[in-house]
Symmetry: C2
C-alpha cells in the first residue's frame, strides 16, 4: 500500500496502527436486508457486480487452503454451465409439451379420434392402415363433431354443427385461459417480452418469473393458442424459458443472491426461448443480444449459445411435429432468385414497414383505451367477445380456420407436383414428370379462389390482431405478424409468377425467365413478406434475418430477406420510432433506458438534476454532525431513496451515498440490538469515531452501509454523456458536482422523465424508480 500524503492518509494510517480494519466491521457481519431491493425498484449494477467479484475473490483465495475448498471453487466455476444445461433441457421439454398439446387441442375443435381421444388428427391417421399418401389427413378413425353427434359428414346441418362446436371449444379454451390467468398468475398474460426487457435492464418485478407464472403461463398458452385467437406462442415461450431460468437460479447461491448474475442467466434464457420457438439457436442468441438484453458480456454469449443448442436438441428429440424439424414451417427452396426480384421484395418491405408502424399505433391506442376506460374492467368478457368474433369469422375461411403456424407453413411451401392444397392447383399439362424442376405454370381456378380467401384472411388478421395483442391471455405477436406478411407475400408471389408466365416477353422478364423455366417461387415471397412484417413490428434486424436463414438453411436467400427487413425497418422508423416492445414498455411506465436510440439533445446535467431552482435544497447527511433523531426525521420528511453524505453543510464536499432502505434497516437494527442507541446518539459516517464525552450515549457507526464510491459528474457534463454512463454502467443515480461541491442528483427516473419531456410526452408516465 502506498498513500498520497493528504487529508486521507492520517485517518487511514490510524486505522492501520490499530491493526483492525474498522472499515470492514459492518460489511463482514451484514445486517439482514441491507443490500437488497424493494419490489418495483431498479438495481445498482455496479454494486451487484462488485458483490459478485468479492464472492469470487473469496472463493479463489480459500481454494488455495484446502482440497475441499478447491473442489468447491471448481464446482462454482462450472455451476453456470450446469445451470445452462438444466435451462436448455427444461425449456426444450416444456416447448415440446406445449407444441404437442396445442396441436392436439387445436384439432379437438374440429373433431376427435376414435382410437383414443389423446391423438391429434395427424397421429390418428398415422395409426390407421387405411390411408393412402394422397389422403393422409382423411381416415375413418377421425370423426368430426357433426359425424359423431348427428352422424352426418356433409350438408348444412353438419356444417352448422361443426361451426357451433368450433366456436364452443374456442370459447371454452379462452375462458379457461383468462380465468386461470386472473385467478392464479396475473403476470402470465401478454407476451412478456417488454417486461423481460425491463427486468434485464435492472428492474425488479417480484413473481414475474416465479413458479406460478411458469405453470399458469404454460397451461394458458396452450389454451390460448388452441382457442384460435390471432396470437402466437413465440413471445410467451421466451417468458416461459426465462421463468425456467429464474427458478433454476435458486439452486445455486451464486445466482440466487446476485441480481446482476441472475440477469446474465435470464439473457441466456431469452435466447433459449427463441431457439425453441423457431428452432434457431444462433438466431436466438442474436435475438437476446440485439433485442432483449441489456448487459451481455462475452461469457454470456457463449453460455447462451450452449443453452440454446441444448434446448434445440431436446426439442428435436421430442420431435413434436413429426418432421425431424423444430418448427412446423421449415422450408427448403431450390430455385435461385433473380436480381430484378429485389423490386417486389422491397415492395414487401415497404408493406411490412407501413403495416408494422400502423399496427403499433393502433394497438397502443387500443391498449391505452383498455387502461383508461371501462373496457379494462371486464377482461374475461373482452376475451370471450374477441374469441367469439375470431371463431365466427374464422371458421368459414379454411385459411383462418387452421392454426396460424399451419397457415404459414402452407404459405411458405413451394408447390410440388403431388401437393393437394388449393394453392398448388396449377395446370400441369406441359410438365414432363421426369424433370426435377417444376417450371412456372398457369394457375388453376382453385388458386384464384385461394387468393380471394387469402385476401379476406389478410384483412381479418390485420384487424383482429390489433385488439388481440394485449388481452389478459398469453399472446405472442411473432406468428400473427408473420402470417400477415406471408399472406401478402404469397399473393404478390403468385401475381408475379402468373405475370412472368403470361408475359415472359416483357422487357423485365426477358433474359432470365424463358418459357418453361422456374423463375418465381411464391413461397419465397411469403417468407420475405413474413420477415418484412415481423421486422416492421419488432424492428429486429440481424436476428430476424438469421432466424429466417436458419429456417431456410440457405445462404442464398439472405439477400432478399435482408433487403425486405432493412426496408421495413427504415419505413417503419420513418413513421414511428418505437418497436412494439418499446411502445408497451412506455405504455406501462417501466423505467427502461433505451440503448438503441441516441440521446440527441444538447442539455446539460444541471438542466436535469434535482433539486430544481424553485425546490428546497438537496437533503444531505453530514458525516459526523447528526443524531439518530435528525436522520430519522430526514427519512420521514422525504421520500428519496437515498441520501448523499457530505463533510459539512457549508463545504458540501461529498463523502459517500447511503440508500434509504439500508439506513432504515440499520437504525432499526441498532436500536433493537445495540446497547444504548437512543435518539440522541450521534451518527458517524467517518472512518475514525472521535472519543465521546463521558455521559453521552454511544455513537452509531454507519460507514459500513455507505457507498464510498458514488458516481459523480460535473454540472457541465452533456446529458448525452450522462445517459451513456447510466446505460453502460447500469447506474441508479449519479451525483452532480460543481467545482468539487455537491449540487444535486440525477436518478434514472429523472433521465427518463427528461427524455419523455423532450419528446413532448407526459413525464409523469414514468411510474417506477
Amino acid at each position: 500500500h502506498q498513500y498520497f500524503p493528504g487529508i486521507l492518509s492520517v485517518t487511514h494510517c490510524m486505522e492501520e496502527v490499530n491493526g483492525v480494519p474498522k472499515l470492514m466491521d459492518l460489511l463482514d457481519e451484514p445486517v439482514p436486508g441491507v443490500g437488497t431491493y424493494e419490489d418495483f425498484n431498479t438495481i445498482d449494477w455496479v454494486r451487484e457486480k462488485s458483490k459478485d467479484r468479492d464472492r469470487h475473490r473469496e472463493i479463489t483465495s480459500k481454494s488455495k487452503e484446502s482440497t475441499w475448498a478447491l473442489v468447491n471453487s471448481v464446482c462454482d466455476a462450472f455451476s453456470g454451465w450446469l445451470l445452462m444445461l438444466l435451462i436448455g433441457l427444461m425449456s426444450g421439454a416444456l416447448a415440446g409439451g406445449i407444441d404437442i398439446s396445442a396441436h392436439w387441442m387445436t384439432d379437438l375443435k374440429e373433431g376427435v379420434c376414435l382410437n383414443g381421444f389423446w391423438f391429434n388428427h395427424e397421429h390418428c391417421c398415422w395409426t390407421s392402415n387405411e390411408t393412402t399418401f394422397q389422403e393422409r389427413d382423411k381416415c375413418p378413425q377421425w370423426k368430426s363433431w357433426a359425424e359423431l353427434i348427428i352422424g352426418a359428414t356433409e350438408g348444412p346441418f353438419a356444417y352448422i354443427m361443426n361451426y357451433l362446436m368450433y366456436v364452443c371449444w374456442a370459447l371454452l379454451f379462452s375462458f379457461l385461459a383468462v380465468t386461470l390467468v386472473r385467478a392464479f398468475a396475473p403476470y402470465a398474460c401478454g407476451s412478456g417480452i417488454p417486461e423481460i426487457k425491463t427486468i434485464l435492464s435492472g428492474f425488479i418485478i417480484r413473481g414475474y418469473l416465479g413458479k406460478w407464472t411458469l405453470v399458469i403461463k404454460t397451461i394458458t398458452l396452450v389454451l390460448a393458442v388452441s382457442s384460435g385467437l390471432s396470437l402466437g406462442k413465440e413471445g410467451p415461450l421466451v417468458h416461459v424459458a426465462c421463468c425456467c431460468g429464474n427458478i433454476l437460479c435458486h439452486l445455486f447461491t451464486k445466482y440466487r443472491k446476485n441480481e446482476a448474475k441472475r440477469r446474465e442467466v435470464l439473457s441466456a434464457a431469452a435466447a433459449v426461448g427463441v431457439s425453441v420457438a423457431f428452432g434457431a439457436p444462433i438466431g436466438g442468441v442474436l435475438f437476446s443480444l440485439e433485442e432483449v438484453s441489456y448487459y451481455f458480456p462475452l461469457k454470456t454469449l457463449w453460455r447462451s449459445f450452449f443453452a440454446a443448442l441444448v434446448a434445440a436438441f431436446t426439442l428435436r428429440s421430442i420431435n413434436p411435429f413429426g418432421n425431424s424439424r423444430l418448427v412446423l414451417f421449415y422450408v427448403e427452396f431450390h430455385t435461385p432468385w433473380h436480381l430484378l426480384e429485389l423490386v417486389p421484395f422491397i415492395l414487401l418491405g415497404i408493406f411490412g414497414g407501413i403495416w408494422g408502424a400502423f399496427f403499433i399505433r393502433a394497438n397502443i391506442a387500443w391498449c391505452r383505451r383498455r387502461k383508461t376506460t371501462w373496457l379494462g374492467h371486464y377482461p374475461v368478457l373482452e376475451v370471450l367477445v374477441v374469441t367469439a368474433v375470431t371463431a365466427v369469422v374464422a371458421f368459414p375461411n379454411s385459411y383462418t380456420r387452421t392454426s396460424t403456424s399451419e397457415l404459414i407453413s402452407e404459405l411458405f411451401n413451394d408447390c410440388g407436383l403431388l401437393d393437394s392444397s388449393k394453392l398448388c392447383n396449377y395446370d400441369n399439362a406441359n410438365v414432363t414428370k421426369s424433370s426435377n424442376e417444376l417450371p412456372d405454370r398457369p394457375a388453376g381456378d382453385d388458386v384464384y379462389t385461394a387468393m380471394w380467401q387469402l385476401s379476406l384472411a389478410l384483412v381479418f388478421k390485420m384487424l383482429i390482431t390489433v385488439v388481440t395483442f394485449g388481452m389478459k391471455v398469453p399472446s405472442g405477436l411473432f406468428i400473427p405478424s408473420m402470417a400477415v406478411g406471408a399472406i401478402a407475400g404469397r399473393l404478390l408471389g403468385i401475381g408475379m409468377e402468373q405475370l412472368a408466365y403470361y408475359h415472359h416477353d416483357w422487357v423485365i422478364f426477358r433474359g432470365w425467365c424463358s418459357p418453361g423455366a422456374d423463375c418465381i417461387t411464391p413461397g419465397l415471397y411469403a417468407m420475405v413478406g413474413a420477415a418484412a412484417c415481423l421486422g416492421g413490428v419488432t424492428r429486429m434486424t440481424v436476428s430476424l434475418v438469421v432466424i429466417m436463414f436458419e429456417l431456410t438453411g440457405g445462404l442464398e436467400y439472405i439477400v432478399p430477406l435482408m433487403a425486405a427487413a432493412m426496408t421495413s425497418k427504415w419505413v417503419a422508423d420513418a413513421i414511428g420510432r418505437e418497436g412494439i416492445y418499446e411502445a408497451h414498455i412506455r405504455l406501462n411506465g417501466y423505467p427502461f433506458l433505451e440503448a438503441k436510440e441516441e440521446f440527441s439533445h444538447k442539455t446539460l446535467a444541471m438542466d436535469v438534476m434535482r433539486p430544481r431552482r424553485s425546490d428546497p435544497p438537496l437533503s444531505v447527511l453530514t458525516q459526523n454532525g447528526m443524531t439518530v433523531e435528525d436522520v430519522e426525521t430526514m427519512i420521514t420528511d422525504t421520500t428519496y431513496s437515498g441520501f448523499p453524505v457530505v463533510v459539512s453543510h457549508e463545504s458540501q464536499r461529498l463523502v459517500g451515498f447511503v440508500l434509504r432502505r439500508d439506513l432504515t434497516i440499520s437504525i432499526d437494527n441498532a436500536r433493537q440490538r445495540q446497547d444504548g442507541i437512543v435518539s440522541t446518539s450521534r451518527v458517524f459516517f467517518t472512518e475514525y469515531t472521535p472519543p465521546q464525552p463521558p455521559n453521552s450515549p454511544p455513537p452509531l457507526k454507519l460507514r459500513g452501509i455507505m457507498d464510498l464510491s458514488p458516481f459523480t459528474v460535473t454540472d457541465h457534463t452533456a446529458m448525452d454523456i450522462v445517459v451513456d454512463i447510466f446505460r453502460k454502467l447500469g447506474l441508479r443515480q449519479c451525483l452532480i458536482t460543481h467545482n468539487g461541491r455537491l449540487l444535486g442528483i440525477i436518478t434514472k427516473k429523472d433521465i427518463l422523465k427528461h427524455v419523455a419531456q423532450i419528446a413532448n410526452r407526459d413525464p409523469d408516465s414514468i411510474l417506477f424508480n
Copy 2:
C-alpha cells in the same frame, strides 16, 4: 433552463444576459490541431462520441431550414450504408484477386501451362479437351519444370530438377515478400489482428491501415502464401479489409474526422475480412464481436452484417475456386454422428487445447528472442532460411507439398467411390455400387502410407509454424492451426473407422455400428480437430463454431464442434490464460485493456493512482491564478499528457481537465495570432474573466479547450469498478478525489501497469500511453 441556486448560477446567468454563449467561443472556431491525437496515443472515446453527436445535432437542426440541408442530412444518414457497400465490394474483389493469384503462383512452383503461363494447373487442364474426369489434373499442356527443362517426367533427375525449382521459386517469392515489406510498408508484416484489436480499442498507429500497407500487404500476402511457408491468408485478409475500410473512410467527413466513428467502420471491416476468408458472413460478424471489437453498438452489428454479405457475394461472383463456394474446404457430410463419438471429439479438444497453449508459449518465447537477440537484425535472412527449410522438408511429402488449404480440403473430404486420393484408397469389394451410402470399409495399403506421411506432416507443421508466425512477412495463423488439427483429427478418424470395422462386436460399437453401416466419417473428425486447434490458439468460441457451421451448412454437426471448441478452450485456459493475439499485444507493449478477463484483485483507486506517496504532488493548473509563463514552465517541466484545473491550490477543488497537446497548440496559436499575449498574460479557465488592470497585457481565455466534465471517482473506489469504467466508457484518464478534493490521477497506462504488476510481470512492458 432551470438552475440550482448556487455558485454556478450567477456566472451562468451573466452569460445569458450578455446574450452570447461565451462558452462556445473557442469551440466554434477551433484552433487547428486542437482535439486531434498524436501517434501512438489513446483516444478519448467519450470526447469523440460527443463530437459526433454535436455534428449530428447540427445537421438535424439545419435540415429543417432548407431542402438542400435536408438532402444533405439524408445523405449523411445513408453514408454509413454506402461506405459498407464499398468496403464489401472492395474487400470481396481483393480477396478474390488474392485467391486467384495465390493459386496460380503456388502451381507455378511445380510447373507451367503451355497454353498460357497465366493459367494455373486446374485451369490449364480445363481448357484441354484431352482430359477425362478421372485424370482432370493430368493433361499434356501442363508441364512440370523437369519436363520443360530437361524433358524428363520420371526418374531421379527429373525429381531433383523439380525439387530444385520448387525450392528456388519458394525462396524467390519469400525474398520478394520480405523485401517489399521492409522497403515500403513495415506494418504489412504479421497477421495484423493484434494491432487491429489495439487500434479498435482506441489506440492510434498512423499508417497501419494506410494505402501503402494495403497495396504491399495484398501483394506480399500472395507471395508469402505461394512460397509454401506454413502460414495462411485469413488473418492478413482481416487486415486488408480494415485497410480498405480505413481508406474508404476518407471519402466521408463523418468518418474521416472522428476516431470513434471510424472504429465502428473498422469493426465492420474486420467482420468483412473473416467473411471473405471463410465464406462465413454470420461467423465474421460474431468474430468481430467476440474477438476483435471493443465498442460494438447494435448499429454496427447490422452494418457489419450487411458489409459481410456484400463481400461474400462479391467473392462468390468472382468464384475463385470454380466450385461456386467461397472457400476451398467447403464440405457437406451426410452421415449423422453417434453420442459415443463425443469421446474422441473431446479427446481432439484436449489435444487442440494442449497444442494451442504450448504453441503460444513457444511462439512468444521465439518472438521475444527475435526482439532481444541478434536474430531480429536479419529479418530477410531469417525468412530465407525458414523458407528454405520449409521447402526442402515439404517437397518429398505430398501432404506438405501442396498448399495448406488444399491439404485441409482433402482432409475434410468424405471419401466417395470415385475419389482417387490415397486417403480414399479403401477396399471396395463389398460395396454395392447402387447404394447411396458408403459403408465403413477396410483401409487399403495407401491409406496406411498416407497415415505415415500425415504423421510426419503433423510433426513438421507443429514445429515450423512456431518459427514462421511473427516473421516479417504477412502471416495468418488460422490455416496452419486448422491444418494441424485436421491432420490429427483425420488420423484419429481413420483409426476409429478401422476399429469400428474390425471390432464392431465390441461393447462400445454394439447397437449403433452394425457391419455394412457407415458409422464413422473421418472427414468430420478432421473438421472437429481443426476447430479444436484453432480454438486452442485463438480461444474463439461462438464465432469459431458458427464459422465451422457455415462451412458445413448443417446444424447437425454443431454439437461435436462445440464440444471440441469448449474442451479446447478450457484446457488451453488452464495452461495459459492468454490467446495468441493477447499474447502478441502484450509482447509488443500495446495499451490494450482486455475486456474478457475480470480484474479480480481487491485494490483501491488510491493504490494505483499517481502521484505515489514519495512522488512530488500532482501538477495542477489553477483556474485564474497563472500566467502564460507559469503554464509554459509546467509544460516543459513535466511530460504528463494532461493537467487538471483546480479552483486554487489550497482548496484542490476540481474544475476541469486540459490536455497538454491542446494547451501547447492554443498558447502557441495565441502568441502568434492574438494581439498582446505575452509571458505575463494571465491565463483564465473561468467562464467570466474579471476586468484587468489598465496597463496589464490582455488575458488568455482557455476555457474552450478545457474538458468541463472530467471523470472522477473517489479514492475508495475498488479497482475492479475503475477498470470497468475505463473499459465501458473508453476513458484515457480518470481523476481521483477524496471528500471533494483532487488527490491524483489514474491513466489507462497506470491500470495496465498495475495489472502487469499483479500478474508478476514487468510493468514497464507497457510502452504506450
